[in-house]
Amino acid sequence: MSDKKDIKIADAFKDGKAFIGFLTAGDPTIEKTVEYVLAMEEAGCDLVEIGIPFSDPVAEGPVIQEANIRALSNNTNTDDVFEAIRQIREKSDVPLVFLTYINPVFYYGYDKFFKRCQELNVCGIISPDLPYDEKDEILEVTQKYGIDIISLIAPTSKERIQMIAREASGFIYVVSSLGVTGMRSEIRTDLESILKDIKEVTDVPAAVGFGINTPEQAENIAKVADGVIVGSAIVNIIAEHGENAKEPLVNYVKSMKDAIS
């Protein structure tokens, strides 16, 4: 059904605040990844980030590191991840983006990788080790296939915020805190001022991630941002419930989506 439609990241932000969920493909299995993405969409997830597992996820905290290990110990590879997307696309038009370190993409071949993204309607790529300064690495190819490079902005970005935001496409991923991914009890960064800087130069929506896990945190973030990104809390549910995580995932996503609606 998807190849007739043009799915866009903007779709995720058109009806109010977006809830963006993350999971690592192949954790616990590729079949379950398909099931969980579809379940999260039904529960109100507006956009799903799909992690391609990597041996050395340097920007991740322990929860997502372990998900990478579980996925790789099942021998999940990039073609398996594309196969999961193909199956998701048989049933769903939910906007999807990849979260991947750049080496697996480089190894697969940029042209082959982004062509496959276009065929399967994967709208964008988030790469934690491809900063603004290195985006020429893939820019030409992503433009050729109409894939957005999702820009990251960190609490330390300061005068880089507007430089990055001006050239952003898809959405902007605002990193809430210093450090690696993982649940945090409080977020102290002055997100309001970062978002104000962004809004001065672009209309591209900005979502906040890193450390968010409770509905209260999500509600507070949604007051200043266009969307809320949750990774470790979702991956933690999958770690805990393995192949039976569908119901707790649905309940969790509903509670988070309700909190920001």
Binding site: D56, Y108, P131, D133, E134, E137, R160, G179
Partner: protein
């Protein structure tokens, strides 16, 4: 093309969180390296604290035994803390202090870089935390205690394959979490720009001295310089001032572990492919859709799946040649130099010696080979005993 390139290699493939810090580091480094006060302070430390210049020693017995080229040993093993690592660490810690940092972190494989960083931090009154793979804390238990003795906190890294690569991962994770007051003292010519350049510059004193010393001793440049290569800092230091002297052959020796045709090696140039990891584009041991491969070497210091971007470039343009030596060859060289010259070399440096032993006999008696003995082997004695099946009780 972005900053810090060596041909296609290098770059700054890093988290946005660290980008401003990397840009700041580059700016500060460019400022201080031209600052006479900084240069003077560093030179004084190198001379009066680290013990530079290190000797260039004519290995007469080894030369006669191998029956070919004249062999000189650059004695980096005689530096304070017993390895070349101190050159880079004094430079970076002094720079960090000038930048207003109060805390340094470091990764370590064999423990030499960790010990050197802990030493410099003690000297300069800075806080120090070292990340070391669990496997390496076992192989090099004495160095863990040594670092603690120097006031450093040692974090045992239990993720991944629990060796050097994983220690680098966790050091980056720590830096991303606390960047304001902390400098990450990367121990080799690797990582994102400006590290490969900074580390090379601080290690270039090795080739600067070799050049002066050999001109004085022999009145001519060496025909060949040999150094072991993991990330590549001692080799880059030994090569750098000879890059323009094309008649000087530069040879890097990688760790072939149990053989480059087995899965158990760390020979990046021989077996790796172009990739992007730890902030740089370079060659990496990888496979299975771009996953970084576990690597192996008897030497914890060479047990790294990548190589510094400048080495990758020197390989591409043919300016340096990269070969490898197995565990067995390195152990043989370790014992050989100990008996032949009364010098116990680090197991890392033993890889370079092993290559010299292969080729020196076939060279002319007029030829001069310089081997960089990057570190001393006291730290390896217990591991070599284990390798040979000898039980030691302390």
């Amino acid at each position: 093309m972005s900053r810090g390139r060596f041909g296609v290699h290098g770059g700054q493939y890093m988290s946005e969180t660290l980008m401003n810090e990397l840009l700041n580091l580059e700016e500060q480094y460019n400022h201080f390296k031209e600052d006479p006060e900084f240069v003077e302070e560093l030179n004084t430390l190198l001379k009066e604290y680290a013990g530079r210049p290190s000797l260039l020693y004519y290995a007469k017995r080894m030369t006669e035994d191998l029956g070919g080229a004249k062999i000189y040993l650059k004695r980096e093993d005689l530096n304070h803390t017993g390895a070349h690592k101190i050159n880079n660490v004094l430079g970076q810690c002094l720079l960090a202090k000038k930048m207003g940092k109060t805390r340094v972190i470091a990764e370590t494989g064999a423990g030499q870089h960790g010990v050197a960083t802990a030493t410099a931090a003690a000297l300069l009154g800075m806080e120090c935390e070292v990340f070391m793979g669990e496997e390496d804390t076992k192989r090099q238990a004495l160095n863990v205690f040594r670092m603690e003795l120097l006031g450093a906190k040692v974090h045992t890294v239990t993720t991944g394959s629990k060796v050097l690569k994983d220690a680098v991962n966790d050091a980056f994770r720590e830096w991303i979490s606390r960047v304001d007051d902390t400098h990450y003292v990367i121990g080799s010519t690797m990582g994102p720009h400006p590290f490969p350049t900074i580390v090379r510059d601080f290690q270039a004193v090795i080739s600067e001295e070799i050049k002066e010393q050999i001109m004085e001793l022999e009145g001519k440049l060496p025909d060949m310089v040999i150094a072991c290569v993991g990330g590549g800092s001692n080799a880059m230091g030994a090569f750098y001032n000879f890059l323009e002297d094309e008649e000087v052959k530069l040879v890097g020796v990688e760790a072939a572990g149990k053989g480059i045709d087995t899965e158990f090696h760390a020979a990046t140039i021989a077996k790796g492919e172009l990739g992007i990891f730890h902030g740089m584009k370079s060659y990496f041991c990888q496979g299975n859709y771009g996953q970084i491969s576990p690597v192996y070497s008897i030497s914890a210091g060479l047990d790294y799946p990548g190589i510094g971007p400048e080495h990758a470039y020197l390989h591409d343009i043919g300016r340096a040649e990269y070969v490898s030596a197995t565990d067995d060859e390195a152990v043989e060289a370790f014992e050989y130099l100990s008996r032949m010259e009364g010098i116990i070399p680090a197991i890392e440096s033993s890889h370079a010696i092993a290559h010299a032993m292969r080729i020196a006999g076939d060279m002319d008696k007029d030829d001069i080979v310089v081997i960089n003995v990057s570190g001393r082997g006291d730290k390896d004695v217990a591991a070599i005993a284990r390798y040979k099946g000898v039980e030691l009780y302390e």
